[in-house]
């Protein structure tokens, strides 16, 4: 591989990684903060993509498209939360049901087509490149958006509502004893989590100028891998550090995958490799726990 190709590879992975970092933050909110693995993600990321390309392709503002993608993701997460809290369906199963159902919803959003390209439409990347003409413009924009999302997310987790949400994941009996409706907290948490995922999907669709109904498969695993790798490599000392670690984990994950492709891994093996990485990461956490008692 030439040096230029290598640099191009790293840059491409970083650009993608910055987008996947937002997905990872969403997964962090459900998996870590609420302590619930949420499979809605595989559906809600495509919902975000679909909403985003539909707004863009009809000439709408691409920033508005991202907002709509966030909102669409929130809706998907709310459905999962309501299935869980109101109908008593187990969280994992509720997520699977919404993931399944959303596939049809996503196709409907995209007007019955399984993929929609927006090559000619305006996107946030195109408009930012006009503003900052540089080969790194996608990188800069991705970084700015991620920084903004992380800051807002960090601020949110330190509000009273954020406290209540974090406590719900830790101990919902204590939360109810403190006069807080734990069901409502789960609703807010899963909605926001999938909102972030939808936002990431919306951004990803604009970055790639295409939305595809099948792109959601395995996204939750990528999110989990990012969270676990990030925490293991970059630490969990403080809340802010943890959020940054999760983002860096997403970027690192993209780099590792790109590197594996370069070594000759066929792209069809990607899902298997992802699954194996997450399995290893989860099991090392379990082994550590056996030594040290209760750990977060």
């Amino acid at each position: 591989m030439t040096l230029d190709a290598f640099i191009g590879n790293v840059q491409g992975s970083a650009e993608l990684g910055l987008i996947y970092a937002i997905l990872a933050l969403g997964v962090f909110l459900s998996f870590r903060t609420l302590n619930t693995p949420d499979l809605t993600v595989d559906g809600s990321i495509v919902t975000g993509m679909a909403a985003s390309v539909m707004v863009c392709s009809t000439g709408g503002n691409p920033w508005l498209a991202l907002f709509v993608a966030f909102f669409a993701g929130c809706l998907a997460g709310s459905v999962t939360a309501l299935l869980n809290t109101k109908l008593g369906i187990q969280p994992l199963l509720a997520g699977i049901l919404v993931m399944l159902g959303s596939y049809s919803v996503n196709l409907r959003i995209m007007g019955g087509k399984s993929n929609v390209a927006i090559i000619k439409s305006d996107t946030v990347y195109k408009s930012f490149e006009k503003l900052v003409p540089s080969e790194y413009s996608a990188l800069i924009l991705g970084f700015l958006i991620l920084a903004l999302v992380t800051a807002a997310f960090y601020y949110f987790l330190r509000t009273r509502l954020g406290f209540a949400l974090r406590a719900t994941g830790d101990n919902d009996e204590m939360v109810r004893a403190a006069g807080i409706d734990s069901d409502k907290m789960r609703l807010v948490g899963l909605a926001l989590s999938n909102g972030l995922v939808g936002f990431a999907g919306g951004l990803l669709a604009q970055f790639q100028s295409v939305a595809d109904a099948g792109m959601g498969v395995g996204m939750v695993v990528i999110g989990l891998a990012s969270v676990i790798i990030g925490e293991a490599v970059f630490g969990t000392k403080s809340l802010l550090r943890r959020l940054i670690a999760v983002s860096l984990g997403a970027i690192l994950y993209r780099m590792v995958i790109a590197f594996a492709f370069n070594l000759g891994m066929p792209s069809t093996d990607l899902k298997l490799v992802s699954a194996v990485i997450v399995t290893i990461a989860l099991s090392t956490g379990m082994i550590r726990k056996k030594g040290g008692g209760k750990n977060a």
Partner: protein, 257 residues
């Protein structure tokens, strides 16, 4: 203040395991009362507390707190008027959050919960000052996660969290049973001092008959989901563990400890 009228609670209705846990129970308590509750296993003590706090609903009867009918309110809404400490020290706090964050959650019980800062400097100073009164060194560890605390420290913190938002009722379900004797003694002493705060009514379940007679101003004995003894005033002062056993044919060894 607290009025419980003819409540009933049956678990597993219609099944072979049907168990009438509470059977037409009446209880009324005044502001400032500190009632200790004893009874053998399965007498319905914990179920009574769960019915009051809303963890489980009742099949019949009414529960009034300050003339407000709470019978149908969900658990989290009742919690605004009720502070609770559980037997398991792990249940009282959010383990992955710091001491000050736990306190902030407990103290915002009656405030609206939205995007205000979770913890202000003023609150932090207030918590620090109050924590010092617990005399457990927690005031210097406010930024540590609560999972790092010992059982005794955790129960003391939970007790403090239960009363910080000035509830009308404090429910303690064997909150010292999981502690070593010296920690239990300390938490009981704290319980005594908190129970004296104005207008608070305290109910404490204990398996320790001696503690039941030494703490509080009233002792009730439960059996088969009913109150079979209610001691207060002069009679209670003259009551001893031996007399209790003789009078009520208490046969549970665990209650004698």
């Amino acid at each position: 203040m607290l009025k419980i009228e003819n409540i009933c609670k049956t678990f597993g209705k219609g099944s072979v395991n049907e168990k009438r846990a509470i059977d037409g129970l009446y209880l009324s308590a005044d502001k400032g009362d500190f009632i200790t509750i004893i009874g053998s296993n399965g007498a319905g003590k914990s179920t009574l507390m769960n019915c009051i706090s809303g963890v489980c609903g009742v099949d019949g009867g009414r529960i009034l707190l300050d003339d407000r009918d709470m019978t149908k309110l969900p658990e989290y809404k009742r919690s605004r008027y009720i502070g609770r400490v559980f037997q398991d020290p792990l249940k009282g706090t959010a383990f992955d959050m710091t001491i000050e964050e736990n306190l902030a959650i407990a103290s915002s019980k009656n405030k609206s919960i939205s995007l205000q800062p979770g913890l202000s400097r003023k609150e932090r100073d207030f918590f620090q000052e109050k924590l010092a009164l617990l005399d457990m060194g927690l005031e210097n560890r406010m930024k540590q996660k609560s999972k790092l605390l010992s059982g005794g420290q955790r129960q003391a913190l939970t007790l403090f969290m239960a009363v910080i938002a000035a509830p009308k009722l404090l429910l303690l379900d064997e909150h010292t049973a999981a502690l070593d004797p010296s920690a239990a003694k300390k938490v009981l002493a704290l319980t005594d001092s908190f129970s004296r705060s104005s207008g608070l009514c305290t109910l404490m379940i204990t398996h320790n008959m001696k503690a039941a007679l030494e703490h509080g101003n009233r002792t009730i004995l439960m059996k088969d989901g009913r109150i079979v003894m209610d001691l207060a005033g002069e009679i209670r002062r003259e009551m001893t563990v031996d007399k209790l056993i003789a009078q009520f044919e208490i046969d549970n060894d665990r209650m004698l400890l």
